[in-house]
C-alpha cells in the first residue's frame, strides 16, 4: 500500500488529471441522463482521454510500451462497449 501511496505522491499531478477526466466524464454522463446519444458521446470521450492519459503518463515515466497502451485501450474499449450496450437497451 505504501508503494501505491508513494506512486500517487510522485505523480500527483498525473493522478489529478485522471481524477478530473473521470469526474468530468461522470458529471457529463449524469447531466445528459435524458439524452442517451450525448451519454454515448460522453463515455466515448472519457474512454479516449483515459487511453491518452495512460500513454502520456507512461511516456513521462519512461516506461511506455505497446503492451501497456494495449492494456489501457482494452479496458477503455471494454468499458465503453458496456456503457453503449446498456444505453441502447434502455
Amino acid at each position: 500500500m505504501k508503494e501505491i501511496l508513494q506512486d500517487i505522491k510522485d505523480y500527483l499531478s498525473h493522478y489529478l488529471v485522471l481524477f478530473f477526466i473521470l469526474l468530468f466524464g461522470g458529471i457529463a454522463f449524469f447531466f445528459f441522463q435524458k439524452n442517451p446519444q450525448a451519454q454515448i458521446v460522453s463515455a466515448f470521450i472519457t474512454a479516449t482521454f483515459y487511453v491518452l492519459w495512460g500513454a502520456v503518463h507512461h511516456f513521462l515515466r519512461g516506461d511506455l510500451h505497446l503492451r501497456v497502451i494495449l492494456e489501457y485501450f482494452a479496458v477503455a474499449f471494454f468499458g465503453f462497449l458496456i456503457i453503449w450496450s446498456i444505453i441502447i437497451r434502455s
Partner: protein, 308 residues
C-alpha cells in the same frame, strides 16, 4: 486450482499479472460481450415471448393510475375519451413515422393538431410522453416526479383523458411509446375546484421547454379536420403478454457482474504487487480500477425509460 489462481492473482506463472486483466483477456471479454448482444438480438427476434421488452403497460392501467393520483389530491377522476385516445394513437404514429422524440414534430406539428384532426374541440389541453418503461407504475411515478408532468396529471382544469401505448422503432431503437393526452371539451365550463390549484394560467399546460403553441386559446367555431401528414397506420397496439426476461436487465446484470469481478481482480493486483514490491512493465492497476469504477457508476446511472 493453480490454473484458476493464475486467472485471478499475480504470480510467477502468469508473469506477475492475473490472466484475466491481461489485454488479450480483456479484448476477449469485450468481443464475447459483443457476441452476447448479437445473440440477444437474435433471441429477441425468434423468442419474443421469452426475451423481450416488457409490454404490460396498457392505456387502461395508465388512466387508472393517473386517476389515483388525482383522487389523492382531492380531484375528480378523468373520463376516458375515445377521441383523445385516437389523437394519442395518431401522435404516437406520427412520432414513429417522422422518427422524433419531442412534443413538436420536426415538421412543426404541435400536439394540439392531433386534437383537431380527430375532431376534439378543446378548451384546455395537455400532453405527457414516456418511452421504454417496463411497467405502468414506473411511467406514472416518473411523471409525478417531474413538476411539469405532475402539473398536467393533477391539473383541475382537465376533465378527460386519452392514452395510447404503441410499440415501434424510434431512432433505431425498439421502443414502447406512451402518449397521454388531457383535455376539457370546448363549451364545458365546469372546472373542478381544488385546494392545490396550479399557478399556470395558460389554458394549455405543456411541460417546460416546449414552446406554447398557437392554439393556446380555446378555438372558436369548428376545428380543422385536416389529415395531411398523417402517417400510415402500420403500428400495432402493444400486446398484453409480458416477456419473461428483459434484455436490459440481462445486459445490465452481466455488465455489472463482469466489471465488478474485474475491479476485484485489479484491487487484488494492487495489493499483491504493492506488498511484494514486484517490478513489472504494466499499466497502472489503480488507474484501470478507477476507470472501471466510472463504468460501473455509469452503468448504474442508466435507467429505463424517459419522459417528455
Amino acid at each position: 486450482m493453480s490454473t484458476l489462481r493464475e486467472w485471478f492473482l499475480p504470480d510467477p506463472n502468469n508473469n506477475q499479472k492475473a490472466k484475466l486483466i491481461k489485454f488479450y483477456s480483456l479484448f476477449f471479454l469485450a468481443f464475447t460481450f459483443v457476441f452476447f448482444q448479437l445473440f440477444l438480438n437474435f433471441f429477441l427476434l425468434t423468442k419474443p415471448a421469452v426475451l423481450g421488452y416488457s409490454s404490460n403497460i396498457t392505456p387502461e392501467k395508465i388512466i387508472e393510475l393517473t386517476n389515483l393520483e388525482r383522487v389523492k389530491k382531492g380531484l375528480p377522476a378523468l373520463k376516458e375519451n375515445s377521441l383523445l385516445s385516437e389523437a394519442a394513437r395518431r401522435k404516437a404514429a406520427d412520432m414513429f413515422a417522422f422518427n422524433y422524440w419531442a412534443h413538436v414534430s420536426p415538421t412543426g406539428r404541435s400536439p394540439w393538431s392531433f386534437f383537431v384532426d380527430v375532431g376534439y374541440r378543446y378548451q384546455y389541453a395537455g400532453e405527457n410522453l414516456a418511452r421504454d418503461f417496463q411497467d405502468p407504475d414506473a411511467v406514472v411515478a416518473a411523471w409525478m416526479n417531474s413538476p411539469t408532468h405532475r402539473d398536467n396529471i393533477i391539473n383541475p382544469k382537465y376533465q378527460e383523458i386519452g392514452v395510447a401505448v404503441v410499440e415501434g422503432t424510434l431512432q433505431g431503437t425498439q421502443t414502447t411509446l406512451v402518449v397521454q393526452l388531457f383535455g376539457t371539451p370546448y363549451g364545458n365550463s365546469t372546472v373542478a375546484s381544488t385546494k392545490n390549484s396550479p399557478s399556470a394560467s395558460s389554458p394549455e399546460n405543456l411541460p417546460e421547454g416546449v414552446p406554447k403553441p398557437a392554439l393556446a386559446q380555446a378555438q372558436e367555431g369548428q376545428p380543422k379536420t385536416s389529415t395531411q401528414n398523417q402517417p400510415e397506420t402500420y403500428l400495432q397496439e402493444t400486446p398484453k403478454n409480458q416477456p419473461l426476461i428483459s434484455p436490459l436487465d440481462i445486459t445490465k446484470g452481466m455488465a455489472i457482474f463482469t466489471v465488478g469481478i474485474l475491479i476485484g481482480v485489479f484491487l487484488v493486483d494492487i495489493l499483491v504487487i504493492s506488498k511484494k514490491h514486484t517490478p513489472r512493465l504494466s499499466s497502472k492497476s489503480l488507474a484501470q480500477m478507477l476507470f472501471l469504477i466510472f463504468v460501473l457508476i455509469a452503468s448504474l446511472l442508466i435507467k429505463q425509460g424517459a419522459i417528455l
